[in-house]
Amino acid sequence: MVMKVDPSKKWTGPVRSYDIIKEGVIAVVVVGLLAAGLSLFFSSPDEPAVTLKSWAMTNPADFAQTATGELAGTTTSAGYGAPYNHAAKGPTLGPLKLQDWAGVRIPVDPAKSFVVEPLLMMNNVDATSSAESWKAATPDQQNKWATAYADALGKVDGATSIPDTKNEFGPVPTMVSSLLVMAKSGALDGALTTSDTPLPTNFTKPLLFLADSEGYFGDLASKQHLGGDQWGVMNETGSWPGQSWLWLFSLWYQIEPFKSSGNADTLVMTLMGLLTLCLALFPVFPFIRKIPYLIPIHRLIWKKWYARKL
């Protein structure tokens, strides 16, 4: 039976003293000692940074294919939509175009930002002249060159360049080869991280470029079980424990209809919002609010009080 309590009346039942400052100090000291002690035993994750240089050195063919894809406008970032461009409407929730309405706040044109502009900064005549030729061509011509070269690269495993025997690739092979040289030297990392700020603090462009990689970046994540379909949000690199408290967010990405939905992020966040609302409204649901009476765990905690009542 549910007891009705008038909240305006002062509590007249038993009380016990509780020193919250003392409890807080003990908690901070114990957790601090535990964290310091465990770090001595286990150290902490310290993976080397993934850079455009490491990508170009490890998998140059994937780098060349992705750079060509940026020029052809076929990569993920080229078709992402807001906040980078207007190429797509992005995730929606019914009639709500959430991503689109947020607007293009960080404009990124992948071909221009990741390839053309860095090449124009290179101290190399071939690189700069190829980039100038690209800029002088019509969008239709640019697309024909890049698409033809992407197709040709895709047909040869491990290729970083293809000879232009039919004169159909324009300046694209020189641009891609030059960008690969730039990336291997580490200069491309510097060029992209400082393109919008004087100090190398903005990693938006190199991260978008890396994420467009079809072979390198995804493989790295998958080997460390960090992919979305591997409960990756919960996991950490190496054998360290990760963010296990995110299990419920991760769960939805493993099951249908979320797993195969292109709109999974919006669906999962909406569902989690509804579940959180249900948790907050726990006391007003007729049956659910009686669960503590059916499973009286609180009686275990306050067993002395309930024993006295009996």
Binding site: R16, F41, S43, D46, H225, Q230, S239, P241, L300, K303
Partner: protein, 55 residues
């Protein structure tokens, strides 16, 4: 980095072990932390409060 890891008594800088059934998958590290939390919850429930403060 490597020197610091070598100094740690237990080196966790190697591929993790994973346990799974169907779509469910969890790393051994996460499982240990989750089980530890259940143990702490059980202790918090069953260990009695210090006596002598009730009024």
């Amino acid at each position: 980095m490597h020197a610091a890891l070598q100094m740690a008594l237990i080196n966790l800088n190697h591929p993790a072990h994973y346990l799974g059934i169907g779509p469910f998958q969890v790393s051994v590290g996460n499982l240990i932390v989750i089980l530890s939390m259940f143990v702490i919850l059980a202790l918090a429930i069953f260990i009695p409060f210090p006596d002598g403060k009730d009024n």
